[in-house]
């Protein structure tokens, strides 16, 4: 049936006598395989060797700190609303006087959990955050013995404090 003028029949000609010779096909296939023997290996020796990911790779989450080491998250809940997998839960608390060096805003997340078994790594939480607080990093492949270990607490997610561990902080921010 012809609907357009663009149809192009595929080439379905019957086999020639050369193609009918079984051995010829074996030979042809073997030549291709042999040529691959001398090519560069396509695989890398994971986990000793790792490939680098793109800058925007959507891996495990990190919770950000500012330059003074204060937590950026203000527990606004936008990330939890945006999450299509409903993987994020949090509990907000009010900053007490004297805690200004810990939390950037007056409200902060006392509890912050991401269930990595639910998470689909869509990246919407990062996109939703109005406080520059949550990012998807370039690490992946966590392993654990139990399900409980996949519920990441705030302590698992927070990046190192720049005041005590400047090296780790820069590394977590992908600058090192």
């Amino acid at each position: 049936m012809q609907l357009t003028s663009r149809a192009k029949p595929v080439d379905r000609k019957p086999m020639t006598w050369l193609e009918r010779i079984y051995l010829w096909n074996i030979f042809k296939g073997m030549m291709i395989t042999l040529s691959h023997l001398f090519k560069r290996k396509a695989t890398i020796k994971y986990p000793e060797e790792k490939r680098s990911f793109s800058k925007v790779f959507r891996g495990l989450h990190i919770l950000n700190r500012d330059e003074e080491g204060r937590e950026r998250c203000t527990a606004c809940g936008l990330c939890a609303v945006a999450c299509p997998a409903e993987a994020i839960t949090m509990e907000a608390a009010e900053r007490q006087p004297g805690e200004e060096n810990l939390y950037r805003e007056e409200k902060y997340a006392a509890k912050y959990e991401i269930n990595m078994l639910r998470c689909i790594f869509c990246g919407y939480c990062e996109e939703a955050c109005p406080k520059d607080a949550i990012y998807l990093s370039q690490t992946f492949a966590p392993a654990n013995y139990g399900r409980q270990g996949f519920i990441y607490k705030k302590t698992d997610l927070l990046i190192p404090d720049p005041k005590t561990d400047p090296e780790g902080y820069r590394k977590a921010k992908g600058e090192a």
């Binding site: 595929v10 379905r12 790779f57 990246g123």
Partner: protein, 407 residues
């Protein structure tokens, strides 16, 4: 002769056929689908298909989600080519909202969609090879599918379930690395595809294995509602990209490969040929994208303030942007009432989205027209009377993907 161990009751009729459960977790079914086959020796007498093993109720979930949160659901339909699903969904939303996308966005979308088509066809065709006993080709082409996945990774940050693009365009502009990777793909891929064809197309074993297997006439195919490569293999040159051009497909020159008998070999050839056509489309689109100059060269999304998130630096500093940001993320924007049907040429066939809106914030009803679901109904007809091993090869050459079959 061994004596009979099972004593049948007096007067009962002995069953002469064997029942075989092919699936749901059979390694040869490439997905979670069940076929209950009645076999006479190795011949298939009848088959009964069961669906629903990975039904995730996407259509129902979508009724409670703002539009942008439905994109990750579409990833999981045909996961071999999720960008096409993502963009098909975005195009549907844009149709409902009446958004007009800039040309550059269209072309970038076409690049990504055609890359996805290639990766899907590549999987399908090499799996047909695997099922006919040729594993090598599959392993060789996987290296090059990797190139496509790296391009996705550069644009959206993920490889398989891409969640690429947003309503109105892309989440970020393509960077130089992405363009370099596309260029690299365009340079390297023709050689690989040629080699793949050398391994399969005129190989006697492969030809004899696939010619005549699972043939369907154009009329039967149309009656079932076949679309895509499977319909074109039967000889009907129906292609959504040509019939109802979307995303500026009208600007491109390409042919529609058609087969004649609709058997596995035809489907294989049609898919292979389509990869060449896709390559040529990508090349054309790539050139067109390079031609944009000045501010036009930086456009990567349409102007849809109600649905496209404002830039992050504005969100941090400007009140109005922050308000929009909150409104969009919380899904607090009422969409226009109405219904739209929009379809794109998925890698597998016509992938349609039927969206009914009652003017609320979430769809009133959303239906995915999944081509695999339709192919699967014809499966029994295609394999009746064939050998058991043909059933496997027919299944893979129809490109039945469980994720798409059960939305």
């Amino acid at each position: 002769m061994a004596e009979q161990h099972i004593k049948l009751p007096e007067g009962s009729i002995e069953k002469t056929t064997t029942t075989l459960n092919l699936g749901p977790t059979h390694p040869a079914t490439h997905g979670v689908m069940q076929n209950i086959l009645e076999l006479d020796g190795e011949r298939i007498v009848s088959a009964e298909q069961t669906i629903g093993y990975i039904h995730r109720a996407f259509e129902k979930i979508a009724e409670r989600r703002p539009l942008y949160q439905i994109t990750p659901l579409t990833d999981r339909l045909n996961y071999c080519s999720s960008p096409i699903n993502n963009m098909g969904w975005h195009l549907t939303c844009e149709k409902l909202l009446g958004v007009k996308t800039p040309k550059r966005v269209d072309y970038l979308r076409i690049i990504i969609m055609e890359l996805a088509r290639i990766s899907d066809h590549l999987i399908c065709n090499s799996i047909v090879g695997v099922d006919s006993g040729a594993y090598t080709g599959f392993l060789y082409v996987m290296q090059y599918r990797e190139l496509i996945y790296e391009i996705y990774e550069e644009v959206c940050g993920s490889r398989l379930t891409t969640n690429i693009g947003r309503i109105g365009g892309f989440e970020r502009n393509f960077n130089d690395i992405a363009f370099q990777k596309i260029q690299k793909f365009l340079d390297e891929y023709p050689r690989v595809l040629k080699e793949f064809e050398n391994l399969f197309t005129r190989n006697r074993i492969f030809m004899e294995r696939t010619i005549g297997a699972g043939a369907i006439s154009a009329e039967r195919a149309l009656n079932y509602g076949f679309t895509g490569p499977n319909l074109r293999a039967a000889g009907v040159d129906y292609d959504v990209r040509v019939a109802t051009p979307y995303s500026s497909y009208g600007d491109f020159q390409f042919n529609i490969p058609v087969g004649s008998t609709g058997d596995c070999y035809d489907r294989f050839l049609v898919r292979n040929q389509e990869m060449w056509e896709s390559l040529s489309i990508i090349r054309q689109a790539f050139e067109k994208v390079q031609e944009f100059k000045g501010t036009e060269a930086d456009i990567y999304h349409a102007d849809v303030p109600e649905y496209y998130l404002p830039e992050k630096k504005d969100v941090y500093t400007k009140m109005e942007a922050l308000i929009w940001h909150f409104k969009i993320i919380m899904g607090e924007i009422d969409m226009p009432a109405g219904e739209v049907y929009n379809s794109v040429e998925g890698a597998n066939g016509e992938l349609g989205f039927y969206l009914v809106s009652d003017g609320g914030r979430t769809p009133y009803r959303l239906h995915f027209r999944r081509p695999c679901f339709i192919y699967y109904q014809a499966y029994e007809e295609l394999i009746k009377g064939a050998m058991l091993s043909d059933a496997i090869i027919v299944m893979s050459s129809l490109n039945l993907i469980a994720g798409e079959m059960d939305a």
